[in-house]
Symmetry: C2
Subunit: 546 residues, 2 copies
């Protein structure tokens, strides 16, 4: 017998609408039209203007024929067009593909081709490398230049020549602000595409859906303690997991985005003091920059600023310095595949009473699931059983819930592998404590996190191996006060060869983006197991002691 609760109680447009974060911006624009949504240099946009510009962008894209499932790529800094793209692109059911502005031309070209990019919006800061990428790529997207009027004459990097056929401002102006935006047909539809750095072979395209973006926005407000009219400073690149989904989050609370093209301590302090910033996110390197700033560049401010950081847990001395400077630091953990951080080191008030060492041990843990993540577990990947919650038994950290990607674009084998057994396999090894907090113990994927960017050690090794004098090599992370980690290369030369550290680094720069190149090269015999496997843990120990 069918239950009465399942009879004549179906979905209809009145009681079921696909979740989408676009709806949050629509509400903010209607309810708080004159609230400042975006600050960029001397420019200001209200929520009403932000909404209407996003509609114009959508309308202009629609006029080009861009629609469902089309990819719109952007190579942009943390500037207003990047925020507009987070709404304008999905308004026509298209997918926002954010390029990491630090990548080199071959990887950019690969991504554009793989994503089948139809439109590419590019900031003039990056025009040169994008031009190279387009020369390598097979796709021929329509290129739109963004010529930032707030670029500034004191810019640390030059503006390059325009390479596009359209100007961003003119393109937006050509759109209609009365454009009727499209809800996704299904909340499972794609909203964004972000490529991982890739550990072996080519980068993988992580696909986000409207449902996850909408839920991530809610859960972010809770874990960031983000109330109405919060002021958010853009120190975290928006090309990283869509800025951990904060472009969508702030629309929920009618918060103010403070754009920041270049992450410099002086500018951060100025923004905090001048605009009343309440929240920012960033890699540990941003904290170092804030603490090591010349006193002339430092500013004081009355508010306590919430600083969300991911990657390595911040050392006690850094946390103490940050507290003195007016910041409350929260330690997060996640992956591109989980919409950015989805694990938080929820700090228990009673831990403040612990001694320094015990407090540091609590800080070192990655933590517990976000409210919108349904489960976080440490699992034996062979048996798929949870390991004992004893803080000692190592397993793979796995995720389950609605803020986990749809999968990897056009990569069924990788998607199936990632979701094997109904869990997302992070590739990170960790332990579960009796209180339910997870701590990472090692990364199985050989990733080096430098300045908040993931570097695949295997990709660096591949580059080094192309040098004719190299017999064997291994790349691991070296702890670094400023960058968190940097790549260090151990190189074994072929008999009779003589090569310098500088030679190897210069060689790498020909094949890799600058930030991926080793900072240190040590010529040595590579320690291997009896079966010939490189003992990376020993190399990591050596790196730590350097």
């Amino acid at each position: 017998m069918t239950s009465p609760y399942a009879t004549d109680l179906d979905k209809n447009p009145a009681n079921y609408q696909p979740l989408t974060p676009i709806s949050y911006l629509e509400r903010a624009a209607k309810v708080f039209p004159s609230q400042v949504a975006i600050i960029h240099g001397a420019s200001r946009w209200t929520y009403s203007e932000f909404w209407r510009r996003s509609l114009r962008l959508a309308s202009a894209l629609a006029k080009l024929g861009i629609g469902k499932g089309d990819t719109v790529s952007v190579m942009l800094s943390n500037t207003p067009p990047m925020l507009e793209a987070h709404f304008g692109v999905p308004m026509v059911k298209a997918v926002l593909h954010s390029l990491n502005t630090r990548l080199d031309a071959p990887i950019l070209a690969f991504q554009l081709d793989h994503a089948e990019s139809k439109v590419l919006i590019v900031d003039r800061e990056f025009s040169r490398v994008v031009k190279e990428a387009l020369a390598l790529a097979s796709v021929k997207p329509l290129v739109i230049d963004f010529d930032d009027p707030e670029y500034g004459d004191d810019a640390p990097y030059p503006r390059h020549e325009r390479i596009g056929t359209l100007d961003y401002e003119e393109f937006v102006a050509s759109g209609d602000e009365d454009f009727v935006w499209s809800r996704p047909d299904d909340e499972w539809d794609a909203i964004a595409l972000n490529y991982t750095s890739g550990t072996t072979g080519n980068p993988k395209g992580v696909v986000y859906h409207h449902r996850g973006a909408a839920l991530m926005a809610y859960t972010n407000t809770i874990h960031a303690g983000m109330g109405r009219y919060s002021v958010y400073l853009w120190t975290l690149p928006m090309f990283h997991c869509n800025g951990w989904c904060f472009p969508w989050t702030l629309a929920l609370t009618a918060g103010t985005h403070v754009c920041l093209r270049w992450v410099r301590a002086k500018a951060i302090y100025a923004a905090i003091a001048d605009h009343g910033v309440t929240h920012l996110c960033g890699a540990p390197i941003v904290m170092s920059a804030l603490l090591n700033v010349p006193s002339a560049d430092k500013r004081t401010f009355p508010q306590t600023v919430t600083f969300n950081t991911a990657a390595a847990p911040p050392p006690e001395s850094v946390l103490a310095g940050m507290a003195d400077a007016g910041f409350a630091v929260t330690h997060l953990y996640g992956l591109t595949e989980t919409y950015g951080p989805s694990v938080v080191n929820e700090w228990q008030p009673e831990w403040d009473e612990l001694d320094k060492e015990a407090r540091a041990a609590k800080k070192a843990r990655q933590g517990v699931r976000y409210a919108a993540l349904e489960d976080l577990a440490v699992i034996d990947p062979v048996t798929m059983e949870r390991v004992p919650a004893d803080g000692e038994t190592i397993g793979e950290v796995m995720f389950r819930g609605n803020i986990v990607m749809k999968g990897y674009l056009k990569n069924r084998p990788a998607t199936e592998e990632a979701f094997e057994g109904g869990w997302f396999h992070s590739g990170d090894l960790g332990v579960m404590y009796p209180d339910g907090y997870v701590q990472l113990k090692d990364r199985s994927k050989d990733i080096i996190i430098s300045g908040g960017e993931n570097i695949s050690s295997i990709e660096v090794e591949d580059a080094i191996y192309r040098h004719p004098a190299v017999s064997s090599c291994a790349v691991v992370a070296r702890p670094d006060e400023k960058w968190g980690e940097t790549p260090i290369a151990y190189v074994d030369l072929k008999p009779g060869e003589t090569v310098t550290e500088e030679d190897i680094i210069a060689h790498c720069r020909k094949h890799l983006a600058h930030f991926k190149c080793p900072r240190t090269v040590i010529f040595t015999e590579i320690p291997k197991t009896s079966t010939g496997k490189i003992q990376k843990y020993r190399l990591r120990e050596i790196a730590k002691e350097l």
Copy 2:
């Protein structure tokens, strides 16, 4: 050609889980196990205890064979079992049916039969009326008594004899705290059932789903400004739209529930001062009670308490008094069908500068949609077109989104009527202002809201008509300082009959719950249109002037 974004990117347990608020309590119990979840008199339960008691309740229900689609009814005050039922019942995929404790036996019996109730948990305060109801009802649910150890000897109402076959505490103790709870098979599955007062004929059973409850919890935290460790005082009955979904909301922020069996100003002030209450909700009558309390019963407190109120907009004098007493009042609007309030009078800071009259005009508006409501409109129900947003053109207020009910239980015609044209028809008439704020102008359903309870004028009229001396009658709302509104009856007697006001009221009490009976009876000729329709608006005008 199929889009690559729709190929090999399907749902699986790793990236898709049905939304449910149960997950929030599970997280709170794991992450904040020793945080106080519930205060009730001298008793305290931590989040760990709250969770384990909910699991025990679920386990005990499962042992009885209660499962998917079964109805568990409760006749409970704002006490811990009511909170436990909000999680324990859906943990076995059953549906929580909350009975309004102010109703009389025939309506309770109707609801139990209509809901096909399997289990009924009843507080001893209500045992007598429930016993009568069970005598009238066809269903024979298993009855469980809740004998509240915090009842208190100073109780204003007596505890009646036990009527059940089981004791609640023993029943919970018989459950297993290691019980494995069931996620809903689908987030569209029913979680709760709440009957409307019914305007014509029988009450309608409004069915909520897990998806809506989970989203309402998120959106509540935003509109109530509810941060971590908020302290929520239960002045709003949990049987009203599941306490506007706050039982589920607080689990998101690990807030503390302060139970309150009887809403008395002295107890409210004591709770606020003693427990640091940050939030409460209630009908305007709660505000009156707080303002008219003897000074000996009043307490001062350092925090500003958020007071959410629905129904009629509070008058300026009440708001000023509330501000002086330490409360910030937010005016909300919604219906049982929209999970409680889903419209908020978002107060714009610049409105503080307006003069008294203009400010009152802004306060009188119901407002704008919650973030989780996708659309709120004033629509001409004939053409289904939106009326002009001119603040003058009257239409029907309609809702659309994920916090709108599944429909009415076993009532396809009413469900279809309510959702006609893809919108939920509220039955309330209103206008839309140019700034997107809605204001109610009249209720098309002839509802009187007295002390926060809905009274159907038609139901009262039906009772009066049963009196043999009555020729014609009409019941409308009379404005009342204490209750908001009370029913006033206009009665036209048959020729030669003489009946007093007291006679009519005594007659009504035989057929209706006490609170539904008219407070005033006026014997007069009923004004009618030329076609014989009663001119209720004229009667409302007379009532206003009394």
